[in-house]
């Protein structure tokens, strides 16, 4: 299985690049920490360094799951969906009448979604949640017999399933795509999506910290600035263009797809911020300290994955 990575030199390069980036970030973080004079500067650097540490862990887990192959990847993303759904539903009020529906969401609908990817049943995978779960959720709640806030409860649970389970599952579903001339390299496509999407978050954060002045939506997301947005999107698109060699795309196609990933990722962050504001918290990790804000990390991926999947499927899969 380890051989799988070494048989695929481009995959090795991608992983090597990520590893190098982490080493650089760790070294810079340590140097900055030493140079920091004021307490507020130290707080910013500590925050940065804890993000880097989290990145090390995430990359290790991600690499391990790719090494195990498709099953490892599916298990990893199911767990991500599970944790994201847990954070989301902890934050969003439900009533006793929703209990069974919630149980179905965690233990039947979401695993089934990943199982369908596992058996490569695209037709069912694509409609399980938007059609069947969408109709099941209000039915099950109605059967429970509590009509109070009915529409609100049904909508909240359906939305959670759509974002945390359905949309996120499109990332590992990339392994289903059969692109002529690219067979057997589907792991690279997933890695490409994750790298561009997550680096876009990182670049937006860095540009925002360095130059951020003009806020885009101060009430919804005080940290998002036009400077961070433009700088982050441009840098991540450049990065995505620069690693075109690992994909079935040309440079230009890679630029376009990277742009789509980064824009959608930005929208995802914005939407999930709006939900957090509505519930009155700063980040999902703050409500549930120690269970750390999985949704804060993957909100962008939830939006980018389905659109990236369908763009690639439409243009590259015959």
């Amino acid at each position: 299985m380890i051989a799988r990575i070494f048989r695929d030199p481009q995959l090795t390069w991608l992983f090597g690049g990520v590893l190098a980036l982490l080493v650089v970030a760790t070294v810079i973080g340590a140097l900055l920490r030493r140079a920091a004079k004021t307490d507020s500067a130290r707080a910013v650097i500590d925050n940065l360094n804890s993000r880097t540490r989290a990145w090390w862990k995430m990359c290790a887990i991600f690499a391990l799951s790719l090494l195990i192959g498709r099953i490892g990847t599916l298990v990893l993303f199911y767990l991500l969906s599970f944790l994201a759904l847990r954070e989301y539903l902890t934050l969003v009020p439900t009533r006793h009448g929703d209990h069974r529906t919630l149980f179905w969401s965690f233990f039947i609908i979401t695993p089934l979604q990943y199982y369908l990817i596992g058996i490569s049943w695209y037709g069912f995978f694509a409609i399980l949640i938007p059609v069947f779960a969408f109709l099941f959720v209000p039915t099950r709640i109605a059967l429970a017999g509590d009509p109070q806030h009915f529409l609100e409860r049904a909508a909240k649970i359906s939305f959670g399933l759509m974002i945390c389970s359905y949309c996120l599952s499109y990332a590992p579903a990339l392994l289903l795509l059969r692109i002529p001339g690219f067979e057997g390299h589907d792991a690279r496509l997933l890695l490409y999506l994750v790298i561009v999407d997550q680096m876009s978050d990182v670049f937006q954060y860095i540009w925002g910290k360095l130059l951020g002045r003009h806020k885009i939506a101060p009430v919804v997301s005080p940290n998002k600035t036009w400077e961070g947005f433009v700088g982050g999107i441009a840098s991540a698109t450049l990065l995505g263009t620069g690693i075109w060699w690992a994909t079935p795309f040309t440079r230009l196609q890679s630029a376009g797809l990277s742009l789509a990933i980064t824009l959608l990722g930005f929208f995802g962050g914005l939407v999930m911020s709006a939900i957090k504001r509505d519930a009155g918290v700063k980040d999902y990790g703050a409500v549930i300290e120690g269970h750390g804000g999985i949704l804060d990390r993957i909100d962008s991926l939830c939006f980018a994955a389905p659109v990236f999947f369908h763009l690639v499927r439409y243009y590259f899969v015959p």
């Binding site: 847990r86 006793h96 209990h99 069974r100 269970h291």
Partner: protein, 218 residues
């Protein structure tokens, strides 16, 4: 004088922690090796296990739950209550049974004797003074057992605790848990005073639990 911790107890506690994702906060006191009565709001069968699992291993071995005899005395339940968790099973009156009340802490002196004896010189108890599982929206008025026990044993520290969200994880009447995230907050011990009336003491104890609700005005 520690109890032999049953291997299943650890398994059940780990499972409860995993399902409930409980965040434990010791706000008003630290986990210390001294005799205590932990009293908390009650919304779920998981309450006791979660509270017990939040204690360090050394304290678990000397901390026992108080539970209703008529519900927990038979079959597998009895095994879990008595063998696994060394529960103190107490009688509740026929009226209490009909209402589905958990330990009727308002019960007679015999029950207080039993609880005082269970405390002995080394043990701590976990008590749910509401007497029954609520919906989680409000903490019900406390039954008087806590007062009588505190008067009998003023040397034992009274530690309030608030369990949040367990009513959503495993509500009354459900048998399958939903893995949301919960929290458990231990507050500052309250003092028993001879001058205080029973009603005033119980109201104060309840207030000590309510004050630990996340978002409650500090």
């Amino acid at each position: 004088m520690t109890l032999a911790v049953h291997p299943l107890a650890g398994v059940i506690a780990s499972f409860a922690r995993l399902i409930s994702g409980v965040q434990v906060r010791w706000v008003g006191c630290a986990p210390e090796p001294r005799q205590r009565i932990y009293f908390a709001n009650h919304t779920s069968h998981l309450d006791f296990v979660v509270l017990w699992s939040a204690l360090p291993a050394g304290l678990r071995a000397v901390t026992r739950p108080v539970a209703a005899k008529d519900y927990w005395e038979k079959g597998a339940r009895a095994y879990i209550a008595l063998r696994v968790f060394h529960a103190v099973l107490i009688e509740r009156g026929a009226a209490g049974r009909a209402e589905g009340l958990a330990p009727a802490h308002g019960a007679g002196p015999a029950v207080i004797d039993q609880l005082a004896e269970a405390l002995g010189s080394a043990y701590s108890l976990i008590l749910f003074p509401e007497g029954t599982r609520g919906t989680g929206e409000e903490v019900a008025p406390f039954r008087s057992g806590l007062y009588h026990l505190a008067r009998r044993r003023p040397d034992v520290q009274l530690v309030p605790a608030y369990l949040e969200n367990l009513n959503r994880i495993l509500p009354k009447g459900e048998f399958l848990p939903v893995p949301l995230v919960s929290s458990l907050t231990f507050g500052a011990p309250i003092q028993f005073s001879d001058e205080e009336s029973k009603a005033a003491f119980l109201a104060r104890a309840r207030e000590a639990v309510r004050a630990l609700r996340p978002g409650a005005a500090a």
